[in-house]
Symmetry: C2
Subunit: 174 residues, 2 copies
């Protein structure tokens, strides 16, 4: 059950930091890549820098057409989950989503999302139904999707690696 | 077992959006308030606007002295958890933290955190040990602290409330 993220509504002039956090969160919590429905090479570059040091094969695909991305995902048998505070509660739908055992495209919007998105999604899912952050919503959704099993990810080709420590900072690597 | 957040290292000129997401995440995932170790009335105001519409008593205390905040919390019998990718894995320490059944001050830094923080914390906790986002770390930590029981929060005095919906947007309120 692979997951990838589709980031909608990114505005290069104000969303660079939040979208970078979305991408790094996707990687850390087990997704295999992020499709960015905007042209912003800086995002791909800054996430690519993390991947080259911290390991793994996480991809960022820039400037995708969002409806085509969704259509292609569905054609391959995947399902589409749109995170929105207006959706059904995560606690209500997560077991059903896992039971489908399909690859999951997680759609994460910025402030405004086209109305069509609510119809195109197989599931519109609310992580709390309160206003907070697409970054939090994505992290908690992926953690629940994988039932907490991906909280200690290992990236064998990493150049740098943290050594867990009760009080201090330790890392090994180049 | 109450929780509150202490936000360190906030720079008003560049962290407003991320710190606002930290505060809203704290509220949505069950914390009672945020102490901000910086002077930025805009944060308190924007989170206050959400609280006044969406309900609850979440507080933002501006311009706190961080060491005093930690000392006061400990004097009242609370414990201090610092979220850092260099800490011990969440999966390893979460049960012990819950077992202590004490109020938890969750310390969330920006890029650089004073070295002393690692010694002052009762627990330095890594949510994955990978670089991602303090917003994700906070959300997943609180969700684990409360074992997924606060994902459908109710704020009885809310002016506005989402009506969960499979495909569309519905809300009730003023």
């Amino acid at each position: 059950m692979d997951a990838a993220v589709l980031r909608l509504g990114h505005r290069p002039e104000r969303d660079q930091r939040v979208t970078t956090h979305v991408g790094l969160t996707a990687r850390a919590f087990g997704a295999k890549g992020m499709y960015l429905a905007a042209e912003d090479h800086g995002i791909a570059e800054s996430i690519g820098n993390v991947v080259s040091r911290w390991g793994g094969n996480f991809f960022v695909e820039n400037n995708v057409k969002w409806k085509r991305c969704i259509g292609d995902w569905k054609k391959k048998g995947g399902i589409v989950v749109h995170l929105t505070m207006y959706g059904l509660s995560l606690t209500e739908v997560e077991a059903e989503i896992r039971c489908r055992n399909a690859d999951v495209l997680v759609v994460v919007g910025a402030e405004k999302v086209p109305g069509e998105m609510y119809g195109l999604a197989d599931y519109n899912v609310a992580v709390t139904g309160q206003p907070h952050s697409e970054i939090s919503g994505l992290a908690v959704f992926l953690d629940h999707l994988y039932q907490g099993t991906r909280l200690d990810p290992q990236f064998p080709d990493a150049e740098i690696r943290v050594i867990p420590c009760a009080h201090g900072k330790m890392a090994e690597g180049k």
